[in-house]
Symmetry: C2
Subunit: 184 residues, 2 copies
């Protein structure tokens, strides 16, 4: 950030009065807007049909060609559930019934918070959206573990197949210091 | 937003290629930065000591003089738990042990998501921070229901005293269309 989005003057890092962190502050005294920067939310679904989970093969970077759960940046004006359902429609044309929040990951090193809602597919009419090359249902044995896009997706799938043995799905709230991207 | 924070040129609302929403886009073709705007997270605690809950009397607007749970905007570089503990230290000098995420509110009309973590005070050395006039423990009968600052605080307290009768505290994930501010 170099310029004030309110008045166009230069910004400079300084600690505003009453604050304890450096912020980008407008250097034009008649504006002096403080530009806060905050983490962003990525929201998505774990879509389930019988004993299978729906994954999308990415048609965009990063991780082109790798498999992921449908998810994306939460938009202004929607709830985390609405965002999760919207991303599932956009990426997989999936019709689903959201059950509850299942995994919640903090990735403080990249200022992101991930929400995955457990959801039931209500029909099998899904198909690849613009950002997907393919959309498929996978049983536990079929999951392409070596070809997943993101560590938060791997972790959500690991929790799901483990929790599925007890048929209880408590909220899994974790902070991940490792990369969002799979190292494989 | 009127100016590009990257290059200082004017921005204009338009739908970027491959997108389906209007964004502020830099009109300088050699920059053309797309400025996404996303919801912000407010994170805080429900600090508990025996049968009482800790509330802070606000020393700042909005809602100067009203009672609230310690909470504030999540910062870059921290997790939602870390932010909740930080706000509890800043507003109430409270030492606490976070237990688990308890209430999660979407307020899509103001582009905010609230997290409240259930937490146990580990000692009674709390005292008002700079943003508080007073900090006190309240039993259920003592809660100043008519003098609370925010609807998300009222709702969290309602859930807590109700759930406390069964001594089970499942995640309460709700979307609130009503004002953040109490109407009383």
């Amino acid at each position: 950030m170099k310029f004030c989005s309110t008045c166009g003057a230069n910004v400079a890092l300084s600690i505003p009065e009453g604050d304890n962190r450096e912020r980008f502050v407008c250097t034009n005294n008649s504006c002096a807007t403080i530009h806060y920067q905050n983490p962003r939310i990525i929201t998505g679904c774990l879509p389930i049909y019988e004993d299978k989970v729906l994954l999308c093969k990415r048609a965009i970077e990063p991780c082109y060609g790798k498999w992921t759960l449908p998810a994306g940046f939460m938009e202004n004006g929607e709830s985390t559930e609405e965002g999760a359902a919207r991303e599932s429609r956009e990426e997989a044309n999936a019709n689903l019934q959201i059950e509850h929040l299942y995994t919640l990951f903090n990735l403080p090193h990249i200022n992101q918070v991930y929400f995955f809602y457990k959801a039931q597919l209500t029909d099998l009419s899904f198909c690849a959206g613009e950002e997907s090359l393919d959309v498929k249902l996978f049983s536990q044995e079929e999951i392409p573990w070596d070809n997943l896009a993101f560590t938060v997706v791997e972790r959500t799938l690991e929790h799901y197949f483990s929790d599925n043995q007890q048929n209880t799905f408590p909220l899994r709230n974790e902070t991940m210091q490792k990369s969002l991207f799979m190292s494989k």
